[in-house]
């Protein structure tokens, strides 16, 4: 009996590690980050509208704000980094941070 329990213990540990890793990976994949320009900030409806895109194909995305997401100081025209995830068919902003000009430097 004891031998069987000893053999089962490492397997359980491995299973827990796999489960924890998978949970972490799913959580990380759950949210994404987009750099964009703020078009509109609407504190009343708790929404921020931003422009993103590829080349001249520019698109608008409306982010609903997570209760913990702060928007004080954000204004139209500002370049921001939005961490967001898809919830209930909508983009929910978890955090929005202004991108400083120094951080805009692209290729080396």
């Amino acid at each position: 009996m004891d031998n069987r329990a000893d053999r089962a213990r490492p397997r359980a540990t491995i299973a827990i590690i796999i489960l924890m890793t998978a949970t972490a990976l799913i959580a990380a994949a759950d949210s994404e980050t987009t750099r964009c320009t703020i078009r509109k900030v609407d504190p009343a409806s708790r929404e921020v509208t931003a422009v993103y895109g590829s080349g001249y194909a520019l698109r608008v995305r409306v982010f609903r704000l997570d209760p913990d997401c702060r928007i004080a100081g954000l204004k139209p025209g500002q370049v921001v980094e939005v961490k967001h995830r898809r919830t209930g068919g909508r983009d929910v902003a978890l955090s929005i941070a202004a991108v400083l000009p120094d951080e805009n430097r692209g290729r080396p």
Binding site: T37, G53, R105
Partner: protein
């Protein structure tokens, strides 16, 4: 030397000449690939040219709004990847009070599509995208040639930013400044230097010019801000694969720059004058590429005659804003290939190099005045130099 020996000697000489001639690389034609591509990269270039030349139909994803049915419809002259005679309409709204630019993204974006598929026409009764009411200025844009753009793409940001002098601290009257994309990165492509990379330009162009969605630009244009009516565009997104987009990008990236012609004495004098009267302050003769996974693009000098920065060109040329660029600011146009151009400036209004120079104003006024003050001989020499590019 007897006659037979002389004949043999002549034949040998001719043979040697033929061998030497064969050893020299063939002169590059417009539309050829860069020198130094690997066999695999050359194969990608050929494959990419096919993707670039593909013509779409509504059944294969075209539209429902579009300007052309394929890349090569507008980039065709004098070879695939060249310029086109099509003129596009671009719009935006500039607020002089705040300096902000509304690119009318909620109203269908800055590029107006001039054609609609039969299905969209039947559904909405339109044959092109409606121009937003807010757009008081409609800018014309010609289709530029794409030769050598892979080299410009490989120039490090730092090299471009080092040329900027937004506050004209050196008091030379030239104050180039960078444009920025919506995510803050340095822009370099497009007449207003708005787009950071060639790849994004290509991916976006598929969508806005042809209505062909792709993995890197997966959403169709709206109809002036309104959704596409159901059933009008039945091909599921993305309408081309990543492989097709990659191939197109390879073709554009690997296009060789136009070859400069040999300069005679007058042309060499013209080149000196180009610098002396101030043209080279914005049309910087050469840039150097940085590191690149493609050896043919790595640490190369590109004689593009541009700084890829924005400059005020005066009220006469002003049209729309784009990103940080005000209506009168334009990116310094690369001059490589200018000798083959028949319609110059951003909208093709100038029919000769001399006319284009005379239309320069704003920051370029001093250089233009100096050009106009040159003797006819010196002016001809300068034009001879430009005609070699």
């Amino acid at each position: 030397m007897n006659r037979a020996a002389a004949t043999a000697g002549t034949a040998g000489g001719i043979a040697a000449l033929v061998i030497v001639a064969c050893a020299c690389p063939a002169p590059k034609k417009l539309g050829d690939p860069l020198d130094g591509l690997t066999q695999q990269e050359s194969a990608r270039f050929v494959q990419g040219r096919e993707a670039f030349q593909r013509a779409f139909t509504p059944e294969t994803g075209l539209g429902p709004l579009f300007n052309a049915d394929g890349c090569a419809e507008c980039h065709e002259d004098p070879a695939t990847g060249g310029r086109g005679d099509e003129i596009e309409s671009h719009v935006s709204v500039f607020d002089p009070a705040t300096g902000s630019c509304d690119q009318l993204v909620e109203k269908g974006g800055p590029v107006i599509q001039q054609h609609a598929t039969p299905a969209l026409s039947a559904a909405l009764g339109i044959d092109r995208e409606p121009t937003p009411a807010a757009a008081k200025v409609v800018a014309s844009r010609s289709a530029p040639e794409l030769f050598g753009l892979g080299l410009l793409d490989a120039v490090p940001d730092a090299e471009i930013l080092a040329l900027a002098d937004p506050d004209d601290r050196d008091h030379d009257g030239i104050s180039g400044r960078p444009n920025r994309f919506v995510d803050g990165r340095l822009g370099r492509f497009g007449r207003k230097a708005f787009v950071p990379t060639l790849r994004e330009f290509n991916a976006g162009a598929y969508t806005i010019e042809q209505g062909i969605t792709n993995p890197e630009s997966p959403t169709e244009e709206s109809i002036g801000g309104d959704p596409i009516p159901p059933g009008v565009d039945p091909v599921p997104e993305p309408e081309i694969t990543q492989a097709a987009l990659d191939a197109t990008d390879d073709f554009v990236r690997f296009l060789a720059p136009p070859q400069r012609a040999h300069l005679d004495a007058a042309g060499r004098r013209g080149r000196k004058l180009f610098g002396a009267i101030g043209c080279a302050a914005c049309h910087v003769p050469s840039l150097t590429t940085g590191d690149s996974p493609v050896e043919a693009l790595r640490y190369k000098t590109v004689y593009a005659y541009t700084d890829l920065l924005l400059h005020d060109m005066g009220d006469g040329l002003a049209d729309i804003c784009f990103g940080l660029a005000t209506p009168s600011e334009f990116r310094t146009a690369p001059l490589m290939g200018i000798s083959k151009a028949t319609a110059l400036l951003h909208d093709g209004r100038a029919k000769s190099i001399e006319e284009a120079i005379r239309l320069h104003a704003g920051e370029a006024s001093t250089a233009r005045n100096r050009f106009e003050a040159l003797s006819s001989q010196d002016r001809d020499a300068l034009l001879r130099f430009l005609g070699s590019l």
